[in-house]
């Protein structure tokens, strides 16, 4: 209240000064005062009252119709005052929500964390960035006892918190599968059952699961409606789409997935991604797949991690640093 009294005093003096010489200095003072009012949560009707009182002191003889008009104005401002208070409390609520989401996002990071494995002869690069605070993309590495490497990439159709909650479930289902012995098609079949039972029918999850057997130069894979990856052939320096058919997870309880096989030679790369990569937008235009591959090729000589970082930076910049969808890109390069 102490500050408010000073403000009343300041207001009257400034107003008086302004009416006398109409200078910019006083108007600048009014701007400062206005900010102080906002900071102290002074509602608009109170400011008008302040004005009425200041005018009454400065010009005790001002005509009735002027005073009446000011009272009328004050009445009009009451609802604005309520709306302003409501806005303030909603803003406080919003910042509470934001910090809660930040905590949840941290938890998600901890829960879903997967370490990039060290595999002899294999150079791995991963980048996964959420569009909002929480990600609906998920990737996971599983190192089998037979030195095989399992790689899962999944995407929930949808973004934000619901997608993120869904992903935590996928993660725990995968953890509970008896990993080492499972083939890609069996893993997808199992996960499909979990998703079908537990997730709302309006929510779909796509997943690509690959198993790499380093000593056989073989990649086994299956897909549940996921964005196809690419195989970079080092000999011809060309990309080939890794096609795989399969229904998205959670549609029917008993889906069977087909398993595919591919030979990966020295220097070849396997590129796995989510549609946040292929559906990057420049303005209103979706980019073409060739553009993605072009950018990947541009950095193909770099170590895998540097490469995915550069590719991400390229598309981040192209989209004015505002991702529209979660972005996940994984590159495996066979070194020997």
């Amino acid at each position: 209240m102490e500050t408010l009294n000073t403000e009343i005093h300041n207001y009257r003096n400034l107003l008086k000064h302004y009416i006398q010489i109409r200078d910019e200095q006083s108007l600048y003072g009014a701007e400062q005062l206005s900010k102080a009012f906002i900071k102290d949560n002074v509602p608009p009707e109170e400011i008008i009252n302040l004005h009425i009182r200041a005018m009454a002191e400065l010009y005790p003889d001002s005509p009735d119709h002027f005073q009446d008009s000011m009272n009328f104005l004050l009445e009009v401002m009451i609802s604005y005052g309520i709306a302003h208070q409501e806005y303030r409390s909603l803003r406080e609520e919003q910042s509470e929500l934001k910090s809660e989401i930040a905590v949840a996002a941290n938890m998600q990071d901890t829960l879903l964390t997967t370490t990039k494995p060290e595999v002899d002869g294999l150079d791995i690069g991963v980048v996964s960035v959420p569009a909002h605070q929480m990600s609906g993309d998920y990737y996971h590495f599983l190192k089998g006892e037979d030195d095989s490497l399992g790689i899962a990439v999944a995407d929930v159709i949808g973004k934000g918190i619901p997608a993120a909650l869904c992903m935590s479930m996928i993660k725990y289902s995968m953890d509970s599968l008896p990993e080492a012995t499972m083939s890609p098609k069996t893993i997808l079949k199992n996960l499909n059952r979990v998703v079908e039972r537990n997730v709302d029918s309006s929510m779909f999850i796509t997943m690509f699961y690959a198993q790499f057997l380093p000593y056989e130069n073989k990649l086994w894979y299956a897909s549940a409606g996921h964005e196809p990856g690419f195989h970079y052939d080092a000999a011809t320096k060309t990309f080939e789409e890794i096609k795989a058919k399969g229904l998205v997870l959670g549609v029917t309880p008993d889906t069977d997935y087909r398993e595919y096989e591919r030979t990966i030679d020295k220097g070849d790369m396997v590129i796995l991604l989510t549609d946040g990569v292929t559906e990057c937008r420049q303005g209103d235009r979706f980019i073409e797949t060739d553009e993605v591959l072009g950018v990947i090729k541009q950095y193909a000589d770099l170590p895998a991690q540097e490469m995915v970082n550069k590719v991400y930076k390229h598309f981040e910049r192209m989209q004015n640093f505002q991702l529209r969808d979660d972005f996940t890109l994984i590159v495996l390069r066979k070194e020997v």
Binding site: E45, E46, N49, I52, N71, L74, E75, I78, S79, G81, I82, A83, Q85, E86, S89, L90, E93
Partner: protein, 133 residues
């Protein structure tokens, strides 16, 4: 007990009567212009709720005179359908009439004390107090 003034709310015009009566009482016991205007707006909201949602109801005024403070108490009584979920109507941004009305949260902000009781199919009683500053 202090004398009680009531206005029956049947038509829109009665909202104006209630505002007028409330403002007069407030002025008499010494409320300033801003608080008179706030009280009138709160009365408007309460009376409009009766007019829109209840078959019949009234707005009453009591002067509350305590040893160390003086204020005006506005009571809104109706025999309407009652409010099912009070915590919901007290939420910001929730309004059945489309959002522009200040609603009950707005009323609560305009006064110093706010109390509501409601029974489904019986009606609602809201008591608010604004103290003289």
């Amino acid at each position: 007990m202090a004398p009680k003034f009531c206005v029956d709310i049947k038509q829109e015009w009665d909202i104006v009567k209630a505002r007028q009566l409330g403002r007069d009482r407030a002025r008499e016991i010494g409320f300033g212009t801003v608080d008179q205007a706030r009280l009138a707006t709160a009365i408007s909201e309460l009376a409009r709720n009766i007019y829109l949602y209840a078959d019949s109801g009234k707005i009453c005024f009591e002067i509350t005179d305590e040893t160390d403070r003086k204020g005006i108490c506005v009571i809104s009584l109706d025999t309407g359908p009652g409010i099912q979920n009070i915590s919901r109507v007290m939420e910001d941004g929730y309004s059945t009439s489309g959002g522009l009305g200040a609603g009950l949260p707005g009323v609560k902000r305009l006064v110093d004390q706010f109390d509501i009781q409601s029974e489904e199919e019986k009606g609602t009683e809201i008591r608010v107090i604004k103290w003289l500053r």
